[in-house]
């Protein structure tokens, strides 16, 4: 377990950040010299207490925030050279689904991204239908998004990103404020995306809800990468970083999912 990017050459990474820093105008140092990477097809948990810099980091990864230091690379190329293509290839699901949903029906909202990519009508319809099926939203296609349940809204936000056919999907605390069933529905949706080959970066506080599916866990603390390793190695130090340790110290990694319950 190491807080530094080590091992394979940088060319092996689908996405990586080098010495990434961000100062807010009020002087707050949100992230400080972060080195971060993700490989194609990986399922990665990004964890840390509130204010540790997770959201700021992921908003740099698809170019929404511009770093005050360092650089983000997609397949070895700096993302700042083509932000539009970066945002198509790196989908970001916001923590507050209401901010992300702009369409006035479920169908229209999912079509929003593909329309912005100026795809032809048939391709837009094909992608929307595929997203509806994958996220189990077919029966809600004509519903108004703002009246959906919390879990349905999150799945809609994920469907909207999926329809843009990104390589990487980053989800910012997709389980927050959801009940048990809502968490299960969203988790099933995320796993369906992973099975289809999408690289997943899941920002969460809840190790026990999804750790069974993750290949790697990265912990942030005070704007830096504090730990990076497989879940079975990280589980023992969660408490040091203000993250809830799963109930039952002898639990197997496979049991750390809400889908088995």
């Amino acid at each position: 377990m190491t807080p530094e990017t080590a091992g394979p050459a940088k060319g092996d990474f689908l996405l990586h950040a080098e010495e990434l820093s961000h100062h807010f105008p009020d002087g707050t140092l949100a992230i400080d010299g972060v080195n971060f990477h993700v490989r194609r097809g990986e399922f990665l948990l990004l964890m840390g207490r509130n204010g540790s810099g997770k959201t700021v980091l992921i908003r740099h990864l698809n170019g929404l925030y511009k770093p005050t230091g360092g650089e983000v690379f997609l397949e070895g190329q700096p993302i700042r050279h083509n932000l539009r293509e970066t945002r198509r290839r790196i989908g970001l699901v916001f923590q507050d689904a209401d901010s992300q949903i702009v369409g006035q029906t479920v169908w229209r909202d999912i079509a929003f991204g593909p329309e912005n990519l100026r795809l032809d009508r048939e391709e837009i319809e094909r992608r929307v239908e595929a997203a509806l099926r994958l996220l189990g939203l077919e029966h809600l296609r004509d519903h108004r998004p703002h009246l959906l349940s919390g879990g349905e809204k999150r799945r809609l936000a994920i469907a909207g990103v999926f329809a843009m056919d990104p390589d990487i999907i980053i989800l910012d605390e997709p389980f927050s404020n959801l009940d048990f069933e809502g968490v299960r529905q969203v988790l099933e949706g995320i796993l369906a995306l992973h099975r289809k080959g999408h690289t997943i970066i899941l920002v969460t506080h809840d190790f026990e809800k999804s750790a069974a599916h993750a290949e790697r866990v990265v912990i942030m603390d005070r704007g830096r990468i504090a730990a990076d390793g497989p879940p079975e190695e990280i589980v023992g130090i969660l408490g040091d970083f203000g993250i809830r340790v799963p109930f039952g110290s002898d639990r197997s990694m496979e049991s750390l999912t809400w889908l088995n319950q």
Binding site: R87, F94, Q100, H146, V161
Partner: protein
Amino acid sequence: MAESIIFHFRPGKSSLHRLDCRFKLLLMVLLTVSIFSATYRGLFLISLCVLSGVFTSRLIHRGFLRDFRGFLLILSLIFLSRTLTEGLIFGLSGSWRFLLVILLGMVLSATTDPADIHGAVYWYLKRLPFIKAGDIGTRVSLAITLIPLILDQTREVTEAQKSRFIEGQRNPVFRILAQTLPLLVSTLYRSREITLALESRCYDENTPPHLSRPASGQWLLFLSTAAISISGILV
């Protein structure tokens, strides 16, 4: 979710829902001009037209009156001020005209997806020189999207303050500040988040809208409504 009815788009299949948004915007302008210039007989005709739109769009819904209370206050003020200065007839007609304009706005927002409004505004303005059609279309559709959300947020803030017994506060300035400051903060926060979300979904204001040719039935509805609004002025 307890949300307000007013100014929300309500998906449906009524003739007004299906009517091309370019027609709707044009009719909106025509009818608004007619409402303020029509004689009393003309106003009667236009009122029938607007009220038929209200019923076609199924705007009257349980909870409508609850949401409409805020506008009743404005209507009462118009009625009182005009009655005191110009007489009862002017008071009645002034508040009635204002009511019709509000209802028109509600019918438009209830039956029109803001994305279609963006498309229609873009279509009208794209030929004009020195006008950023995409930019204006985006602003109009975003404003129409945000109005109901702000109304919902207003209600939530009001209820939260009531639960903390804001009525017990005698200072009216403090009461107003207690309601407007949280609303302002949450609206600014949400605006910033929506902007980021639009960027992350590759939003481009100059994306050409998907507009199909209006069917003959739509032309008929448009022309008949336009004729009523023009005759409202001429009668």
